[in-house]
């Protein structure tokens, strides 16, 4: 048993949902109780998908237990086939159904459904979301592409003359951190090199696309956490080599171009010469001098954490003072990378441990997940998000990849943005006594970014979308924050005019803090216009009624 409030990853069946939902014509029958349908909102609200995720839940209840949960599963599988007419059906259990041992995969296979049934066995009490996505993708690829594999040991025939080299892009899913934009960016880069993308999967792939995976010359693994299991199998089954460089940052993108060129039998120089990321010049520009040696703490999934550390050290001139991951499956890689920076990797999925490590490292910048964003906010540190778990803000309307040339530009912008500009920092140091330069003053270009302001003030942040980690110490309440910023407090009383009764004042304080200022102003205006000297609770509500007209 382990106590937790916030988690980096959901259960493995959420990983399976991410694969099914990313694809076209693949449906997932999930044996699960009704409450597990909450997972739909991850896709419809956080990612703003305009359609329901490709999942049918059995939603068994107490009265079904021990009697007909198995029947329910069969019925759900049949209904899903009839209603959604999928080309392939994934079938599996959530944590509760796993305990019932109904064997959903076996049951569904026995139904004689008109589509391939892929049973999923995702141990909910051992594994987590990312592993679930990797395993689901692998099972699906084996089931659909496996029958086309040549006999073991067959040598891959050389590519015919005049046929351009081709590859698959493996790993992007629904609810992934910038997967949509990375896939597009890298497909463009490959096209520039003269490499054809055979299939991108899971994102946007159909069942028949997955069946064609073996046709490509090699595989590009964009997200090893999700795509590597499948890529390794494809390597064995079809003799397809795979990339091992993740093209995040300028250096890694160049390495990636060289690696792809080798696999595709091309010369990399023309592509390398044509790459024109702005990051290197921006980093050399004299105004960036202030970035030198800034201490950064990096935490995320293994791929993004390792890549971010490299960019931080080699392309921004930062000092990496912390590096860690919550994906234990890739702990070895992260440990090796950390060694290169002379530090010990932090491998944990306990956000309290991460918080402790960050507090101890006292970095100037945190590069992390939404979880670290909250930790950083509490510690009053600047932070940029580099990895899942995701939040609605991690799905921007614009094209904002992390990979390739444009990805490198995005990294420069998003990492520098939360930092204080060089001159501003100096002025702060020189005029510490200036009353506006109090301890919590934020960068001047970030309005309202001063410490302690909860993100909830931002009306664009929707409920149901933001994991807010906690700490041993309760975070400052909004009232505390306001009290520390007397000048900025939006609800400081009017110096003259009507007087609030203590009772009315108390009532006002019960109004949510983010509208309290407006309520106070409106009430006072209302009272002044009517020459009321005392503001009572009645006045407060009379004013509220008046202004809501």
């Amino acid at each position: 048993m382990r106590l937790t409030v916030w988690t980096y990853e959901g259960p493995p069946h959420v990983g399976a949902m991410r694969v099914a939902t990313a694809m076209e014509g693949v449906h997932y029958v999930l044996h699960a109780p009704q409450g597990d349908t909450y997972a739909d909102l991850l896709f419809t609200m956080i990612e703003r998908r305009p359609s329901r995720p490709a999942v049918s839940y059995t939603t068994f209840q107490a009265r079904d237990l021990g009697r007909d949960t198995a029947d329910l599963l069969c019925e759900t599988a049949r209904d899903a086939c009839a209603r959604f007419k999928p080309d392939a059906l994934l079938v599996g259990s959530s944590c509760t159904a796993e305990l019932l041992q109904d064997d959903p995969g076996g049951l569904a296979k026995a139904l004689g459904l008109p589509v391939p049934v892929v049973p999923l066995d995702l141990p909910s009490y051992q594994r987590k979301e990312t592993w679930g996505a990797a395993e689901t993708f692998y099972r699906l690829a084996r089931a659909l592409a496996g029958p086309k594999a040549p006999p073991p040991g067959t040598k891959r025939p050389p590519r015919a003359d005049g046929v351009p080299p081709s590859c698959n892009l493996l790993g992007p899913t629904a609810l992934g951190f910038r997967h949509r934009d990375d896939a597009k960016e890298i497909a463009g880069l490959l096209a520039d090199m003269g490499v054809r993308v055979n299939v991108t999967a899971p994102l946007g792939a159909t069942a028949s696309d997955v069946a064609r995976l073996g046709e490509a010359d090699f595989n590009v693994v964009l997200y090893p956490e999700i795509g590597e299991t499948t890529a390794r199998w494809l390597e064995t089954a079809f003799g397809q080599p795979r990339t091992t460089t993740v093209p995040i940052g300028v250096g890694a993108t160049r390495d990636f171009v060289r690696e792809v060129a080798t696999l595709a039998g091309l010369v990399p120089e023309p592509t390398l010469a044509a790459l024109a990321p702005r990051l290197p010049w921006f980093s050399r520009s004299v105004d960036s001098t202030y970035l030198t040696g800034k201490r950064v703490f990096v935490f995320g999934d293994a791929t993004h954490a390792i890549a971010a550390a490299r960019v931080a050290a080699d392309e921004m001139g930062f000092e990496v003072v912390g590096l860690g991951t919550y994906t234990r499956e890739f702990a070895r890689d992260v440990r090796a990378a950390a060694k290169g920076y002379g530090i010990e990797a932090l491998i944990t999925d306990d956000y309290l441990e991460v918080e402790e490590a960050i507090a101890e490292a006292r970095p100037d910048l945190v590069l992390g997940t939404q979880m670290e964003r909250h930790i950083a906010k509490r510690l009053g540190l600047p932070c940029a998000v580099i990895s899942a778990p995701v939040h609605v803000q991690d799905f921007p309307a614009r094209h904002a990849p992390q990979m390739g040339v444009e990805g490198a530009n995005v990294l420069f912008d998003t990492w520098v943005h939360p930092l204080m500009m060089g001159l501003e920092e100096h002025l702060l140091g020189m005029f510490r006594e200036d009353f506006e330069f109090h301890a919590d003053a934020g960068p001047s270009h970030l309005a309202g970014a001063a410490g302690g302001r909860p993100a909830a003030r931002d009306p664009s942040v929707r409920p149901g979308t933001e994991p807010v980690p906690s700490s041993v110490q309760p975070s400052p309440s909004p009232e505390d924050a306001a009290a520390r910023h007397p000048a900025a407090a939006p609800d400081s009383p009017a110096p003259q005019g009507s007087v609030w009764t203590a009772e009315a004042e108390r009532e006002l304080n019960k109004i949510p803090f983010f509208v309290r200022g407006k309520a106070r102003r409106n009430t006072e205006r209302y009272a002044t216009e009517r020459h009321l000297h005392t503001i009572t609770i009645e006045t407060l509500y009379d004013a509220k009624a008046y202004f809501s007209r």
Binding site: L3, L100, A456, G464, T465
Partner: protein
């Protein structure tokens, strides 16, 4: 297909007591009429939250209570995804995640639980009441949390009271979690002396600001002894006895109401305090039970009614004549449909609710327009088909359905906001209407 549609007679839950609740505007007596609106029972796949979700507001309301879910990673992920941004400070809830070792019998789940509770209480000495909250997994492996609660209560006697209830999706839908939590509190309430003066007990979580408004109104009416359940402090539980009059502020509290009645309390049937009319009828039910004359009620409620009327007026032009479709969510649906139809002139096309406790809902049902399609339960696919066919002007649904329906061109209102926003009472009537008006206004504003 699993849909078994049938007309049913009222389910076995507390029947409305006799005693009228005052006549609404059009003279139809609420609460004393025979069932007016028939309900269709629907079974099938559901798209609803489980009862754990209630912790999101309960842990803020009861300020010295902590909710420890004994469940899986899924339960923790649900809490994180559903609670999200609404939590500013450290939440007073957590999940003890069952792991392979607990299931394989390698670890004694009870020992593990004791250890986690000990750690938690050491870290949070402010916790006076600890709820062990059961989940689907804890239920399936038959982990007896009520025994664990007794054991831990004895161990921490004088320091922390430990109770248990189930928020599992096998037994509870969304707001039923609050019913289960409050029902667990009822046996803990001190007994009121049999000769104690009559007192009013308002049951169901209300935003603090709403609770205080009601407290002032009851005081102005002349009802001196008013208590609220849940109370803001777990140590100040209200007392209950034969002279307790129970007024439900929320419709989903069937089990809590039953247990209170078992302890001698008498429930006052009334529509729920939503909208101006509902609030007046609700207050009137209390006033009548305490022998307060109609003139006093009229006088005390007049300013509030007037403000609510004015606030509602501005939204009527947006809402009147529009057709509304409710997917099941919180059990508030019939009462909301009543407000929207009677006070805003909307036309309810379908009103679905996860459960229909007729005994509690009858006063509201009696005020629904004839011919309203009332559905208990859910078959989400068939309901979606009906919704698409009906093409309502406004669809009230959960977060999983809202964007997909918007993308199909249906204007939606996400229902969870109706549970997380103060909407009860006169002063909030305008806010309530605005929640429904805003999506329609927005739809009119957007030109792209």
């Amino acid at each position: 297909m699993r849909s078994s549609a049938a007309l049913v007679s009222p389910p076995p839950c507390p029947a409305p007591d006799s005693g009228a609740t005052g006549a609404p505007a059009d003279g139809r007596a609420a609460g004393s009429v025979a069932p007016t609106v028939e309900a269709t029972v629907e079974r099938g796949p559901r798209e609803v939250f489980c009862g754990l979700t209630g912790i999101i507001w309960l842990h803020r309301k009861i300020q010295d209570a902590f909710f420890l879910i004994v469940g899986s990673r899924t339960c923790a992920h649900l809490m994180q995804s559903a609670a999200g941004v609404m939590i500013f400070a450290e939440p007073r809830f957590a999940t003890a995640i069952l792991e392979e070792r607990d299931l394989a019998g390698l670890a004694d789940a009870n020992d593990e639980l004791d250890r986690e509770v000990a750690r938690l209480l050491e870290r949070r000495p402010d916790i006076k009441l600890l709820f062990l909250v059961g989940s689907c997994p804890s239920e399936v492996i038959k982990l007896d949390l009520s025994r664990a609660a007794q054991r831990l209560s004895a161990a921490y006697a004088g320091r922390t009271r430990v109770l248990s209830y189930s928020g599992s999706g096998l037994d509870t839908t969304f707001t039923e979690g609050e019913d289960a939590a409050l029902a667990a509190l009822v046996p803990e309430m001190p007994a009121a002396a049999p000769d104690a003066a009559s007192s009013l007990l308002v049951v169901g979580t209300l935003a603090d600001v709403v609770e205080d408004q009601f407290a002032r109104l009851f005081a102005a009416l002349g009802i001196d002894s008013v208590q609220f359940l849940p109370s803001r402090s777990a140590e100040a539980l209200p007392s209950v006895g034969p002279n307790t009059r129970v007024l439900l502020a929320q419709p989903f509290l069937a089990e809590t109401a039953r247990l209170l009645e078992k302890r001698g309390a008498r429930r006052l049937p009334a529509p729920f305090p939503l909208g101006a009319e509902g609030t007046t009828l609700w207050l009137t039910a209390a006033a009548e039970a305490f022998g307060i004359d109609a003139d006093t009620v009229e006088r005390v409620t007049a300013p509030g009614r007037e403000r609510a009327r004015a606030a509602l007026e501005s939204h009527r032009s947006v809402l009147a004549g529009r057709r509304v479709f409710f997917f099941p969510d919180s059990q508030l649906e019939p009462a909301l449909a009543r407000v929207l139809s009677r006070e805003m002139g909307m036309v309810p096309v379908e009103v679905a609710t996860p459960y229909l406790h007729r005994g509690l809902m009858e006063p509201d049902l009696a005020l629904l327009p004839e011919g309203t399609r009332l559905v208990e339960g859910q078959h989400v696919y068939e309901q979606l088909d009906r919704c698409r066919a009906a093409r309502p002007d406004l669809t009230v649904c959960g977060l999983g359905l809202a964007n997909p329906l918007e993308a199909e061109g249906l204007t939606t209102k996400w229902s969870i906001e109706l549970v997380f926003t103060p909407i009860q009472g006169y002063e909030q009537a305008g806010d309530l209407a605005e929640l429904f008006a805003r999506p329609l206004l927005r739809d009119g504003l957007l030109k792209v």
